[in-house]
């Protein structure tokens, strides 16, 4: 590979610097803000690394949703001064870190500069995989089990966070007028953007997860703006949360029963299957992430 350009060095330095700031700032607010900045810097790095999907996902999920969750934590209780670790612990920790870093630096120098087996294999098989975009084909066909299980992680994280909620959820009340106004603009924009990402995902960067993150964003905005439906933790919301996983499992079981084998997609209808699963998955991810958010924002509230 080419030697490192100045841009690479600058970008690397920026990432490292922001990461250090994010972990060094003593206040929660500072740490969280720096982390959000890290998300932006990383998105640039991802773009530089020819990974537009990741850049989108990072923007939407990594810093978008995670950031929103963190921000919400802050607003809940901003004044919590961090205690300091003991001096010995700090020294030991820093030393161990330095040793580990030195060792890892040696290790990564041994990484061979040649592509893995997989890009060629993907390129060979992508026709009939149901998506022209390679990343989508990997996610929804070649390694669909990973994707199914990842959706399951989200479902059960939402269930786990939901189980921590011990009082009924209410939307914030009253809502300041500017928030409502902003919501009216943001809501349709986010839904549209999500839908576009979803549809585009089969042939271009984008897909269920990025779209789901947009939908989640929309729901969170609606929640903050006081919309009752967004605060719901009822059966319908839970049903939407799990719909993606269930649809995926149904597809898997269906293909198995048809005699093709688990998750084996026939090229004739692979495209339709992929798009269908992606759509349900995107909605599920949206609702699921929103559920985690709602569970969080509620959990701090002392019951009256």
């Amino acid at each position: 590979m080419s030697p490192a350009s100045v841009l690479d060095v600058v970008l690397a330095a920026a990432v490292l610097a922001v990461a250090l700031v994010a972990v060094l700032l003593p206040s929660r607010r500072g740490a969280v803000s720096a982390f959000l900045v890290l998300g932006v810097v990383l998105a640039v790095l991802w773009a530089r690394l020819d990974a537009p999907d990741i850049a989108l996902a990072e923007a939407a999920l990594g810093s978008g949703v995670a950031g929103a969750l963190l921000m919400d934590t802050l607003t809940a209780d901003p004044a919590r001064p961090g205690r300091r670790a003991g001096r010995t612990a700090v020294v030991v920790g820093l030393l161990a870190g330095a040793v580990a870093l030195a060792a890892l630096t040696v290790v990564v120098r041994a990484v061979p500069d040649e592509p893995s087996l997989l890009p060629a294999a993907v390129a060979e098989e992508i026709h009939g995989a149901g998506a022209d975009h390679a990343v989508t084909a990997v996610l929804l066909n070649f390694r669909s089990l990973d994707t199914l299980l990842e959706a399951a992680v989200l479902v059960f994280a939402a269930a786990g966070a939901g189980a921590l909620v011990r009082t009924p959820v209410r939307a914030p009340d009253p809502v300041p007028a500017p928030v409502t106004a902003l919501a009216r603009v943001l809501l349709p924009a986010l839904v549209l953007l999500g839908t576009w990402l979803l549809l585009a995902g089969t042939s271009r960067p984008g897909g269920a997860f990025q779209a789901g993150a947009m939908f989640a964003g929309a729901l969170v905005v609606a929640f903050v703006a006081g919309a009752r439906f967004a605060a719901s933790q009822g059966t319908a919301a839970r049903a939407w949360t799990v719909a993606g996983v269930l649809a995926f499992v149904a597809l898997a079981a269906g293909t198995a029963m048809l005699g093709q084998g688990w998750l084996v997609l026939d090229p004739r209808w692979a495209g339709a299957a992929v798009l269908t699963v992606e759509t349900v998955l995107a909605v599920s991810i949206g609702v699921g992430l929103a559920q985690v958010f709602v569970a969080n924002s509620e959990a701090r509230r002392v019951p009256s």
């Binding site: 982390f35 969750l69 919400d72 809940a76 612990a89 990973d146 990842e150 992680v153």
Partner: protein
């Protein structure tokens, strides 16, 4: 130093920074942030590995996509737990 080595080292550095901070921090939210930083470090390593050929490696990118979503879900759960830990005593009792 090649770009590959530089960026791989960057990923490792971010990982180590995140882990050390996670272990040393006492504030729970900061520990969650540090964990996310560490996770970003691993993602950098994977994505840098994906750039080794002429075409970007879609599998490695898919892995990172999956990893990011999982990390978001875990962050959500972690923060819900942080809330619960920091909740007033009376709320904890069922």
């Amino acid at each position: 130093m090649t770009r590959l080595e530089l960026l791989l080292a960057l990923g490792c550095a971010v990982l180590v920074v995140g882990l050390v901070a996670h272990l040393l921090a006492r504030d729970l939210v900061r520990r969650v942030v540090a964990l996310n930083v560490a996770s970003a470090g691993v993602m950098i390593v994977l994505l840098v590995l994906a750039t080794r050929g002429t075409e970007p490696d879609p599998v490695a990118q898919a892995l990172v996509l999956t990893g990011i979503v999982i990390m978001a879900a875990i962050t959500g759960l972690a923060l819900a737990l942080v809330r619960r830990v920091e909740a007033p005593e009376d709320e904890e009792a069922p």
